[in-house]
């Protein structure tokens, strides 16, 4: 029971992180119909920005962990939001009318460039960094099962971000504009929506959320490294696809589904737990073969 509970908490934790990454993919796909493969590496850059800010705050004499945490999150989110908007402006919008393969390729290469830049130019960037433990280390005991305060806080924060995003998309004028652009670019333009601005804001939003996921990942594992974005991005993308690209709730569902698959792979299967990712991806690939448009498909018809 206790072990199962631990896996459950672990799964919810990972699912929240994956959902936050997947939401970004789905936002980008919604407004521009593009896949930004550098998303995972933007997340990694966010995690490193947060790490740097936490160290910087400590160096400036702010010993309170909450101040450090606030600095870390603030710096990570604003930095990656700018990065995301810059990527959209200079790499993705110019290629909007080129073959879609080109956007996929350019973002893949950008991801490699970001990854390699951190590895080569961040001080001692090729080695994993120990992320400072900024959350309280209290733990509650329920019988045999221990609930750590930091896990609980991270899950609550992640869910708060998801709910906040839901409110933003559905209840505000900005959200209305984003939905309008996602539905039809030309009509949105005619209605006086600043198309370019909305695209940039959406990319900033998605990238900022990825940075939250990156910092959460750092806090949870107490580690950041230059290669973390590749697998996280891949998982987030798979989650967005099995949920149904372009659908916000599909992405969240997909994120938790992927985490559940990993946990099943780790617990229930007879092989070494090193194969849990292999198992999860194999199921995802099979799911994609079965339902190519995802579990909650975006309603669309093809114009020929």
């Amino acid at each position: 029971m206790d072990l199962l509970g631990q896996y459950l908490v672990n799964g919810i934790m990972l699912g929240t992180i994956y959902a936050l990454v997947a939401v970004g993919f789905t936002l980008f796909f919604g407004v521009l119909d593009v896949i930004k493969f550098s998303h995972g590496d933007v997340l990694m850059v966010g995690a490193f920005a947060g790490f740097t800010a936490a160290l910087g705050a400590a160096a400036l004499g702010f010993t309170n962990p909450f101040v450090q945490l606030a600095a870390s999150v603030l710096f990570a989110v604003s930095g990656t939001a700018l990065l995301g908007a810059a990527i959209a402006k200079w790499l993705i919008l110019p290629l909007k009318n080129a073959p879609r393969l080109n956007i996929l390729l350019i973002t893949l290469m950008l991801g490699t460039a970001l990854r390699e830049s951190v590895r080569l130019f961040y001080p001692d960037g090729s080695n994993p960094k120990a992320f400072p433990a900024l959350l309280p280390s209290t733990a509650w005991q329920f019988g045999n099962f221990t609930l750590r305060a930091d896990s609980a806080l991270l899950v609550i924060a992640g869910i708060a971000v998801i709910v906040g995003l839901h409110m933003l998309i559905n209840r505000t004028r900005l959200g209305l504009a984003i939905r309008a652009v996602a539905q039809d670019e030309e009509t949105a333009r005619t209605m006086g929506i600043n198309y370019t601005l909305i695209v940039l804001v959406t990319f900033a939003l998605g990238s900022g959320i990825a940075a939250v996921a990156g910092v959460m990942n750092g806090l949870y594992y107490n580690e950041v490294n230059f290669g973390m974005g590749l697998l996280l991005g891949l998982i987030g993308f798979s989650a967005a696809i099995i949920g149904g690209l372009g659908n916000l709730y599909g992405a969240i569902l997909g994120g938790f589904l992927f985490a559940a698959l990993q946990m099943i792979g780790a617990v229930a299967l007879p092989f070494a737990s090193a194969y849990k990712d292999v198992f999860a991806f194999a199921v995802v690939i099979a799911l994609m073969g079965w339902k190519p448009t995802g579990l909650i498909p975006e309603r669309s018809s093809e114009r020929v």
Binding site: L95, L108, I241, Y275, V278, M288, G289, V304
Partner: protein, 390 residues
């Protein structure tokens, strides 16, 4: 000068281009110092620009369209001449053979990316499957090592079949995630799998023919040559076969169907082109070529390890295809030479190669999406010799 070039028969222009290329390659490979290499690279950039301005490149590519066989033979002769010049030196031969095998693998990717538009970001994984086939079978089974090379391709193609179902059912981006996942997991799988050697990898035996082991340098006219000579010649043979196969495929009705599928799936389905069959054919044929190249590569290095077949290496292969020009076999070979040799000669950039080539590809996509040597339109009919370049 321009007038002279334009009066030159296209074949002569092609011969001139290959001759200049040969001289340049010999001079380039002999340089040791960074300064000399950098100035030669700068010189090549200026020379290529000048050759473009005076019409040499256009004239030579015209020949590639009108006399593909003769031009291919010239390319083969140029490679043979290069191999002969460096017959006694290990390192240049190793580099030449590596270029040719990477070019072969990139030709395989070209069938998938360039012709059919089926994305494959697991090129290095299929290359690795070929190499690991060599490692497991050469010298450890009853199979003659020469047969292991085609078998490496077959196994890569068969393992690729596992991915075919989701790749064919889905489009563009979705197929990308399937192959990226395969590429990332392939390395993980190799690392945790002890029977395949784990993270340290394992050694590979040399290719042997009856009475002839590739591990010993053949004695030609009394000169003791490098054992890499065997591999360079074998790599040239493999590249030549792949080149001929890709060109024949492109010129056939199948190639036309593949192009149609890439350009517009809906329209080609309306004209009765079996889309699934075209995609499966391209995916399997491409992986077959990549796997054969990988099998020979593994045996040539004598050692395979998971770190040689990572996702970044797959992206390098994709970079070769894009740099050369999608669907352009000559461009692919040129790009393979640049991508493989440059970091080897300039040790200063070896560490930065993934960064460098990813930035180069981004620039190519933004400013020159057709690549260095853009793919020419098919020519089914021989055109008159005096035709002005289009």
């Amino acid at each position: 000068m321009r007038a002279f070039i334009l009066r030159l028969p296209p074949l002569a222009a092609a011969a001139l281009a290959f001759g200049l290329g040969l001289v340049y390659a010999v001079v380039f490979m002999e340089q040791e110092s960074d300064v000399a290499v950098i100035s030669l690279v700068a010189f090549a950039a200026v020379a290529a620009f000048a050759a473009g301005r005076i019409g040499l490149i256009r004239r030579a590519s015209l020949a590639a369209g009108t006399h593909p066989g003769a031009v291919a033979a010239m390319g083969g002769c140029m490679a043979l001449a290069l191999i002969a010049v460096f017959a006694e030196d290990h390192f240049p031969l190793l580099m030449l053979a590596t270029v040719m095998l990477y070019a072969t693998a990139a030709l395989g990717l070209n069938v998938q990316f360039g012709y059919t538009g089926v994305v494959n970001f697991a090129g290095a994984a299929f290359f690795g499957i070929g190499a690991y086939t060599s490692a497991e079978l050469i010298g450890k089974s009853v199979l003659p090592p020469v047969l292991v090379l085609p078998l490496g391709g077959l196994i890569a193609a068969v393992i690729g079949l596992v991915l075919v179902f989701p790749v064919v059912r889905t489009r563009g981006h979705y197929a990308a995630v399937v192959t990226i996942a395969f590429s990332v997991l392939f390395k993980t799988f190799l690392e945790v799998n002890d029977t395949l050697g784990g993270p340290q990898g394992q050694s590979v035996g040399p290719v042997t023919l009856p009475g002839w082991s590739f591990a010993d340098g053949p004695v030609v006219f009394g000169v003791e040559t490098s054992f890499y000579l065997n591999y360079a010649l074998a790599a040239l043979l493999v590249l030549g076969l792949a080149f001929v196969m890709v060109r024949r495929l492109e010129r056939s009705w199948i190639g036309l169907a593949l192009d149609a599928v890439r350009l517009d799936e809906t329209a080609s389905a309306c004209y009765g082109i079996p889309i699934r069959r075209a995609k499966i054919l391209a995916f399997v044929a491409g992986n077959l070529i990549i796997g054969v190249a990988g099998a020979l590569y593994g045996s040539m290095l004598g050692y395979v390890a998971p770190t040689s077949f990572t996702f970044s290496d797959s992206l390098i292969l994709v970079a070769i295809v894009l740099l050369g020009g999608m669907g352009s076999p000559w461009g692919t070979i040129l790009a393979a030479a640049i991508v493989v040799i440059l970091p080897e000669k300039l040790q200063a950039i070896q560490e930065y190669r993934f960064l460098l080539f990813s930035v180069v590809v981004m620039a190519i996509l933004l400013f020159r999406p057709e690549g260095l040597l853009p793919r020419a339109v098919r020519r089914y009919l021989p055109v008159p010799q005096n035709e002005e370049a289009a």
